[in-house]
Symmetry: C2
Subunit: 511 residues, 2 copies
Amino acid sequence: MSASRAVRASNALLRAVSAPSAARATKPVALLRESRRHFAASARTMSSFYQWEPECPSVKTEIPGPKAKAAIAELDEVFDTRSLNMLTDYAKSSGNYIADADGNVLLDVYAQIASIPIGYNNPALLKAARSDEMVNGLINRPALGNFPPTDWAHVLKSGILKVAPKGLNQVFTAMAGSDANETAYKAAFMWRRQKERGGAHVEFTDEEMSSAMNNKTPGASELSIMSFRTGFHGRLFGSLSTTRSKPIHKLDIPAFDWPQATFPQLKYPLDKHVAENAAAEKAALDEVEHLILNYHIPPCAVIVEPIQSEGGDNHASAAFFRGLREVTQKHGVLMIVDEVQTGVGATGRFWAHEHWDLPTPPDMVTFSKKAQTAGYYFGNPELRPNKPYRQFNTWMGDPARALLFRAIVDEVERLDLVKNTARVGDYLYERLEKLAAKYPGQFDNLRGKGMGTFIAFDNPRRDEFLARAKKLGVNVGGSGQAAVRLRPMLIFQEKHADILLETLEKIARSW
Amino acid sequence: MSASRAVRASNALLRAVSAPSAARATKPVALLRESRRHFAASARTMSSFYQWEPECPSVKTEIPGPKAKAAIAELDEVFDTRSLNMLTDYAKSSGNYIADADGNVLLDVYAQIASIPIGYNNPALLKAARSDEMVNGLINRPALGNFPPTDWAHVLKSGILKVAPKGLNQVFTAMAGSDANETAYKAAFMWRRQKERGGAHVEFTDEEMSSAMNNKTPGASELSIMSFRTGFHGRLFGSLSTTRSKPIHKLDIPAFDWPQATFPQLKYPLDKHVAENAAAEKAALDEVEHLILNYHIPPCAVIVEPIQSEGGDNHASAAFFRGLREVTQKHGVLMIVDEVQTGVGATGRFWAHEHWDLPTPPDMVTFSKKAQTAGYYFGNPELRPNKPYRQFNTWMGDPARALLFRAIVDEVERLDLVKNTARVGDYLYERLEKLAAKYPGQFDNLRGKGMGTFIAFDNPRRDEFLARAKKLGVNVGGSGQAAVRLRPMLIFQEKHADILLETLEKIARSW
């Protein structure tokens, strides 16, 4: 297939899928064939990590197509479907490709909101899921704080703790990002009050005990968690009080009167705004220090995402985070790094904060999403509360999910997927820079250089951009007001990047 | 084996396990043999639902024994073990029996804090866990709000929704009891503010949107959730603000200034305190109404457990709950029934609130624990927020756990286990009444009559009582200050009740 024929085919596909639905329905099969040939021709010859995934996307119907529409209507009777993006046929999804009810197969660079690490129906996970150990964890669910399994230390050490961030050798396990963050906050409050009391041995006063039962001070502490504007840390009551992404996340929900500092708003390209960006980061750190010293409800911890993800893919420099470590340490405030979205390899390091070269580790690091389980890591033994049952709940996580994370870790190591992501990320970023130069205004504020595939850009008609990508066979997500956020899996390779890049160019070219 | 010989054997066992550990180590094997013979002789001939469980407990070592001690020390390096009750060998546990690292096998009437429904290593669950559907749900974890599986409606309708409380035909799925309650609270806040605004069509004001981002009113609503003294609803920040069980659960954690009403403190036996108890319930309802009308942060919902479980197994009459439904409805306040611990059959009805014969259903019912998944049921379509993404998070539950609940529901129906629990509960209660009469002061305030096996009593030396039970081969839990709470599984039969009763009597007799 010649290059010009490939372009003709892809243009025909684009016209068809961009046209009103009546026209669109006419020639799907022929177009699909053309599309397949085109993608196959342009894809690099490198083989996939796994042989079971398709070679390219294949869009056969509108999305949602007729089967999906019927199923969505049925689902909506019992389950709110207004945020539904695509009704998914998981059995038919594989590797980097997500399938829907109507047989459409899309390259998936959104990956269940950045939470699929090593592909749909990964054979290594299939094996782990069929193991006796997994079945045992599923059907005999323990209350982990009271009745941990005999091999729980081994499961932790060979999985969750094998990849623990440097300097953090303990874990409190949780269910998802929100409660991972909230339990970290609880540890921070207890730690700070213990220091104020004079140590772990100091008993609670009667006044503290009785006032706590009435939700009043001194038993309920009057302390806060500081977060950053445009940050996202979850949607339960404590985590939502630190989330500052969008009004729709927060409206009508009571919130704690906790402080927020400005997250530096970097200008792009970075090399043309060096002084300005450094000044923005300095101002942000000054604000953090000012709030630590002056906020009327003193913060005992600051929580920060290495890259503000939901809030629009906002980056800051390693120097900024080193400064944050310094200012928190100086004032005895804990630093919690929320790696719920950035963790587990996506930035080309296992944990994004490894990019910072911190002088001392963060006090706590929270994780979820690609880990398929959740919790917070810590190292300082003082972060264990002074008495049992202070940090406790019935399940305290899920051993089945912990076993799955272990299998993910093994596969990430076996295939060197963090390194793969770093390399493919560079490949992708370089080509996106060229697209940005070629199509001004379509790939604004390209960001994420050197951060693996954790790349984003702004597009003025972002939602339409995402809808077009889907019609062309690529499932992409947005973040913030205008960002297109790329969140491929760790098994995303140059050949997948090529398909993505071609698709992005098709959209840009058509506008 | 004659009755007197059985008594001698059990007394010998009792003396051995009550003695200091040096003496205890001398004859465990011989004693075990005696113990086995004793239990086997006294157990009723009725066969188990499943043939795979042991006939009786078997305590071979101290608990923790040498193997457990070593494993606990290793675990403690990375995971707080101070709330550890028993290091558990789940592979060797079966049915009503829990096994530990040293080969001790105990009758388990605590059941992972009331969260194992149909026994360890249940063959029906084993089959479900090995199914392709389960494996698919485990390894391809969806973001359910965005990318639900094609069969999600079917999974819900054949499982979670098949057992939905009468009048509640929709569900929001969650991860555990805490976030099930908190998402229900969020639905309540949004519902109330929508009413105040004048309907779903009324848009948010600019002031609401900007103030919400600063955690301030009017965007962050100044409303509250009312709960009851000694109630327990979870330990994240919103749920903990409604939890009023013990100071250790609440100390140092910031809390919302939300109202609490007194839960009626019934006196036992009920038939001797009829007027007094009715007055206590009336006073409690008057207090609820007073707080609805006068509390400085108006409640939009009241949350209540059918039986306050963690707080000490506090019961109230069906009339009280009917009164609560009436007073909440009168004032346009939602009634949320927290069935996290009472749900899924333990009270002899599938949902405990079925005992009340309510004129109209509760507005929301939350569930977790024995369901092995979590969420809240509702019926009123106005409880769906007026826009998508208001009630949303990445995972919104776990399909693997939803499939497990479906298998549980099928097995509960197949074996008629709710009816079984009602019958066995009556059997157990009747015999406990006799023990209470025979050993005054040991089985105080016996409660839970007609509530299946959801039975409790107070013992002045409760913690020692629980420790003795464990030494005698029965794993029991406590609640509140002095309660021994019985939380057998739904496969608990008369023969298990006999073993439990004999053990309880041994302890009482020895004091």
